[in-house]
Amino acid sequence: MTGAGLDLTGLVVGFARTLRHAGVEAGPDRVQTMLRAVDALGGTTARHLYWAGRQTLCAEPDDIRIYDAAFAAYFGGQRPQRGTPLNPAATLPSVAAPYTSGPPGDSADDGDEPQVLGLSASTVEILRRRDFALLTPTERAEVRRLLALLGPKTATRRSRRRQPAARGEIDPNRTVRAALTRAGEPTRLARRRRVERPRRLVLLIDVSGSMSPYADALLRFAHAAVRTRPTRTEVFTLGTRLTRITRALRHRDADAALHAASTAIPDWHGGTRLADALQAFLDRWGQRGTARGAIVVMFSDGWERGDPTALAQRTHRLARLAYRLIWVNPHRGKDGFAPLAGGMAAALPHLDEFVAGHTVAALDELVRVIAK
């Protein structure tokens, strides 16, 4: 490599670091590929660098938006700094980690809290039925442990794939193959049958301001679901925009996973544009196949600032794509609840199930509904 090449290596490595801070997984092997790509293009003009980097460092369409911003920032002169993530969409509000504090009024009571919860079965039973919005910090810790124990599993469907089995239809290929070793005499019929596969589980979590008391618990539920079936579960958050957090939630440790997820969500506790976010989900994921034949669970209180008929239309479309559409509304479990929120009333006719999700017990019930 020439002297100019050495500079290039440093430049590219620095750029990759910027990208990683911004949330694109540009690992060392990808960086190496980029260097080879730049070399192959035989020049280091901005255009060469742009395309070589985009095609080697990015891995999905969401990366490209970040890449473009990072490219402009980095090669526009901004040096990468450790610990200051580049925010690709500068207009979005920055994120605060929402998990550390309980409801503001509870801090004074802390001293009176029993330090050891969960010793007796009855305490657990009470906690299981306590609304997430009303928990004290100590109870919250215990509830988090209970949530981690949930393991939502979807029902299975018959797959196209077949496997050898003792009973079932005759497998002509294996039968003839076995016969060939006996000079063409079929002595035994080999059999096969279809494999059962779990259905995909898609969780759509409303993270707007009105849902904030429940966000932590619901994300933990989502984490438990992803941990149970990592490749068959997809999690998205809906607020003013759509964010896919499946990857962040794959982390084994719940707190680390939630931290990663909260960093990924740009519209935490913002307003609700449920219909638009749902539209984004349908266009970018649902219609293509993520929702097809899947069990889709929507966690939302149905507060919609936009037009409720748009939400009704999109819920209907989602219901047609999905195998089952389950709506979880935390307010459902409360006394005197009626689905009066404009969006909720509009969506209601298209749902297969409508359940509560405000306590551990209610989420436990949801696990049963999902498995049905």
Binding site: A37, A40, R54, Q55, R160, V176, G184, R317
Partner: protein
């Protein structure tokens, strides 16, 4: 690199020219992606809306580089017997019976007969094996997201080695590794291990000028004015938030339908009559039909 084909282009622009001579008009990004895949010997992972020309790109690439084109369409349940090779069992049995009949009472040499059973002529080459046996070759693995995870792991192994081992015959190694193009519609996330080995490119809808050029390339009889109107209308439809926005494939179909009707420019009546060629949902058709006059008058 080991990849030497007779017509390896020298630059992305040269590849774009070669593709253009086959009738495929690639933009700068796609040409660069194709060039890098050829030069670095990496598989190319293409994503994009349906109908933006991912499959057509692989076909054009094969023609442009003088390589054989092999396509593997993925679907759920796809397994090695359908993707790689399979033994032709009926022919093997026939071979046995014929040998028996020919021997008619004399001793048959079992070892010779058995060795004859696993001859290459009884092997049915499925797409992956075809791609390894015929170099140079462009292998299109279409809609890889439709296959299940097990197949992905298997594909990864074959791609990494550009070779397969058939127990009865031995190892088959590609003379030059096939240029592999994978496409995905993102119905599920493809495993990182597979993506990491690939160059990644997101194929966009073409901009107005390119779409006009594509239409005129594909439909020689089309008038310039009609091509421009169709491209402008298609561009407008993509902004309309439809359930299925039209891709280039649909605008070519639409323009083709209009040309077949003898249209020289776009008028609301003919547009309404042919909307089925470009829109595939009843809701979309209803929506576009309501604003048809604006659409026909659309400017790029």
């Amino acid at each position: 690199m080991g990849r030497v084909t007779t017509s390896l282009p020298e630059s992305p622009a040269a590849l774009a020219d070669a593709l253009a001579s086959t009738g495929y008009l690639a933009d700068e990004g796609l040409a660069t992606a194709g060039f890098l895949a050829l030069t670095l010997g990496r598989p190319l992972f293409l994503e994009g809306e349906a109908g933006v020309g991912k499959t057509a790109f692989a076909q054009a690439l094969a023609v442009a580089t003088g390589a054989r084109f092999v396509r593997l369409q993925c679907y759920e349940g796809l397994d090695a017997a359908q993707a790689l090779y399979d033994w032709d069992f009926p022919r093997q049995i026939l071979h046995l019976r014929a040998a028996e009949a020919a021997a008619s009472g004399q001793q048959i040499d079992a070892a010779v007969l058995e060795a004859g059973l696993y001859d290459r002529r009884f092997l049915i080459a499925r797409p992956l094996l075809q791609a390894l046996e015929h170099s140079p070759c462009v292998l299109l693995v279409d809609e890889v997201d439709r296959a299940d995870d097990e197949f992905e792991a298997f594909l990864l192994e074959t791609l990494a080695e550009a070779a397969i081992t058939i127990p009865e015959i031995g190892r088959i190694v590609a003379e030059t590794p096939p240029l592999t193009v994978l496409t995905s519609n993102r119905t599920r996330e493809v495993h990182d291990a597979l993506k990491r080995r690939c160059l990644y490119h997101w194929v966009e809808h073409p901009e107005f000028d390119r779409e006009v050029a594509i239409l005129r390339e594909r439909l020689p009889q089309i008038t310039r004015r009609l091509a421009e109107q169709v491209a402008a209308a298609a561009g407008r439809m993509r902004e309309l938030d439809l359930i299925k926005p039209p891709g280039v494939a649909e605008s070519i179909d639409w323009a083709g339908a209009l040309v077949a009707l003898g249209a020289r420019d776009l008028d609301p009546d003919r547009a309404a009559a042919t909307l089925g060629a470009v829109l595939k949902y009843r809701e979309d058709v209803a929506r576009v039909r309501a604003g048809l006059d604006d659409l026909v008058a659309a400017q790029p």
